[in-house]
């Protein structure tokens, strides 16, 4: 189970000062760019002990905090 509030807090570490809710558009609103996604993936790997691969770093997986949770759950089940 991936804590969405923890994910929101990690996003806040990368982009200080922003206030987002689970379904806010992160890519379309320009909150996260490619480089932010990179850094976020590295932090998520550390925090949740998952292996986010480069092919996971797609826009649709990072479009919102809720989408990030779905991605992490899929990674857990995927082979």
């Amino acid at each position: 189970m991936f804590d969405i509030q923890k994910i929101i807090s990690i996003i806040g570490e990368i982009k200080p000062g922003i206030d987002i809710s689970p379904d806010d558009e992160l890519i379309e609103k320009g909150i996260l760019e490619s480089m932010d996604i990179m850094m976020l993936a590295a932090k998520l790997n550390e925090e949740f002990d998952v292996t986010i691969s480069p092919l996971d770093l797609k826009e649709e997986n990072f479009r919102s905090a809720a989408a990030i949770v779905s991605m992490l759950e899929e990674i857990e089940d995927r082979f």
Binding site: E33, M35, I37, M38, A41, P54, L55, L57, K58, F79
Partner: protein, 545 residues
């Protein structure tokens, strides 16, 4: 088959009639037939390369996918056996079998991944090899031959580039990587895969397709919807306006200036030319994409957006989220991210963190990956030094932007400048436009010519009436310049409306009938009247990629 010929019109009309009459389950066959006819129209030989790509990718992805399903079954069996042993309580250490099962499944997965990696690498070598050979062989061989003192390859020695090879190869590689990563299931029907790669509206100049987005639409066989026809037709018309009125007119001046800059030698002409080049690039490429998207829409298929009013960008990063979006996204997902997470780059980041601090540790990998990715974008455009310089320039500017972002934010916060501040927004748009145009010098001309022209811009620039009159000797009459200006103003106005969130076609259908048709007739007749004559028509610039 040029989009501007009667043959193409007949081809589309006939195709639409047959497509919409056929039952849903067979519509994709009609699309495949149309795509193969379109591809082979100019000659059958190049289709061999398309078929090689399709076959190698189909085999590889089916192998990986089939094996993955078997391995998943194996893993489930191992886990089931382990849990049954623990539940049965046969005297073994509780949880011991679960641990053993974890090790077993880990070994099974690791061996499987090795097999998939081998298959993937083989497919990448074959298809990137074909693309590299056909696209770059002439230039590279010519380079080595010139070093040896002989002339470069010409005529029979040059290689013919199959239609859309860059676009369908990238689509194929993306699809293969997606199957390799377990994100999509392999397409078992090779003919359906062939349709995905060769779908005729986009084979000429993109957008670069993603399998999970395009394939459901290709195979769904959408029911006939008059609104698709209407929207598609309007988009085609708009694309034709951009291409025939702006792009095919502006190119006359651009070709004259780039052909021999030294014979012109005036900074103000080079500035004027690069502004025209800006307009031409956008009108030609986005106009073509509009037509392609419009044609696809008439068949009920929605292609990804490839341009989003790029000259309204507020930074170079923003520009690349608006210009040739499908290429930018492809490079980001399949080059930038894998590079940034690779062992050598993360090792560099760790070393930089230790020696220069956390900020440097985060920035340096980003700089390296940005520059390398954009150099690759440059090389994709062609095997010439000026494209490499152009790519390098973009990569460096983006890296500088990123590095300066925190201090820029602090400065704006200190002085109360909001991002939504109109004046600030105009400033960032103009700044970005200037930076993009500086880069266009290296996109459009040979490196030495670009340097020469830039030098002249800063050392020999005058806006005197006498000097400006020279512009009338570059191949266009005064009336052509007025038509160009008028068309660019229309384009700018439409873009501004869209940038403010108004969806033009939706708004168009809501207007009263006389006004709606007044606008459409104005567009139709305006394009017919203002378009360059038949002799002035040129192909799409990106069709040669």
């Amino acid at each position: 088959m040029s989009f501007f010929t009667p043959v193409f019109l007949i081809f589309i009309l006939a195709g639409l009639i047959v497509y919409h009459l056929v039952p849903a389950g067979y519509k994709w066959c009609i699309l495949l037939g149309l795509s193969m006819f379109y591809y082979c129209y100019g000659g059958i030989a190049p289709v061999v390369f398309l078929l090689i790509t399709c076959l190698t990718v189909w085999l590889a992805t089916c192998l990986i996918d089939s094996d993955r399903q078997k391995v998943k079954q194996q893993i489930m069996t191992v886990k089931k056996q382990a849990s049954e042993t623990v539940t049965a309580g046969d005297g073994t250490v509780p949880g011991a079998d679960t641990q053993a099962a974890k090790v077993d499944t880990s070994v099974i997965k690791s061996r499987a991944k090795k097999r998939y990696r081998l298959i993937l690498i083989s497919v990448l070598i074959i298809n990137i090899g074909i693309l590299a050979y056909l696209k770059y062989f002439t230039a590279i061989a010519g380079f080595f031959m010139s070093l040896a003192g002989s002339e470069g390859l010409t005529g029979a020695g040059s290689l013919i580039l199959p239609l859309g090879i860059s676009f369908y190869t990238f689509s194929a590689i993306g699809y293969t990587l997606d199957v390799y990563g377990g994100y999509v299931r392999a397409e078992r029907n090779p003919l359906k895969l062939l349709l995905f790669l060769s779908f005729f509206p986009q084979i000429v100049q993109g957008p670069i397709a993603r399998y999970n987005k395009l394939s459901p639409q290709l195979f769904a066989g959408k029911k006939f919807d008059i609104r698709d026809l209407e929207n598609g037709a309007v988009l085609i018309l708009w694309g034709m306006f951009k291409k025939l009125v702006i792009a095919d007119r502006a190119i006359t001046v651009i070709e004259t200036v780039f052909a021999d800059p030294a014979s012109i030698g005036r900074g103000e002409v080079f500035v004027f030319n690069i502004l025209l080049y800006s307009a031409w690039q956008y009108a030609d490429f986005s106009g073509g994409i509009d037509m392609v998207t419009g044609v696809a829409q008439m068949f009920g298929i929605g292609l990804d957006e490839n341009f989003k009013r790029p000259y309204f960008a507020t930074s170079i990063s923003d520009f690349w989220r608006r210009w040739h979006i499908s290429l930018g996204n492809w490079m980001r997902d399949y080059v930038f991210f894998p590079l940034s997470m690779s062992r050598p780059v993360t090792a560099i980041g760790r070393r930089a963190s230790k020696r220069m601090g956390e900020k440097a540790g985060r920035m340096i990998p980003v700089v390296i990956c940005s520059v390398l990715t954009f150099v690759l974008v440059g090389i994709w455009h062609g095997p010439y030094m000026h494209y490499v310089i152009w790519g390098l320039y973009n990569g460096i500017i983006i890296s500088i932007e990123r590095a300066l972002e925190p201090s820029s934010l602090k400065f704006r916060q200190k002085h109360g400048i909001e991002d939504s501040n109109r004046l600030y927004r105009v400033f960032t748009i103009v700044r970005t436009f200037i930076l993009v145009n500086l880069g266009w010098f290296f996109d459009g001309a040979a490196a030495s010519d670009a340097v020469y022209m830039l030098k002249k811009v800063f050392t020999d620039f005058s806006l005197s009436a006498d000097r400006l009159r020279f512009i009338l000797s570059l191949g266009l009459e005064k009336t052509d310049y007025y038509k160009l200006l008028f068309a660019i103003i229309i384009l700018f106005t439409v873009s501004l409306i869209q940038e403010n969130g108004i969806r033009i076609r939706e708004s168009l259908w809501k207007l009263k009938l006389p006004l709606r048709w007044g606008i459409l007739y104005a567009l139709i007749f305006g394009t017919m009247i203002l378009a360059v004559s038949q002799g002035g028509l040129s192909g799409f610039a990106y069709a040669q990629f």
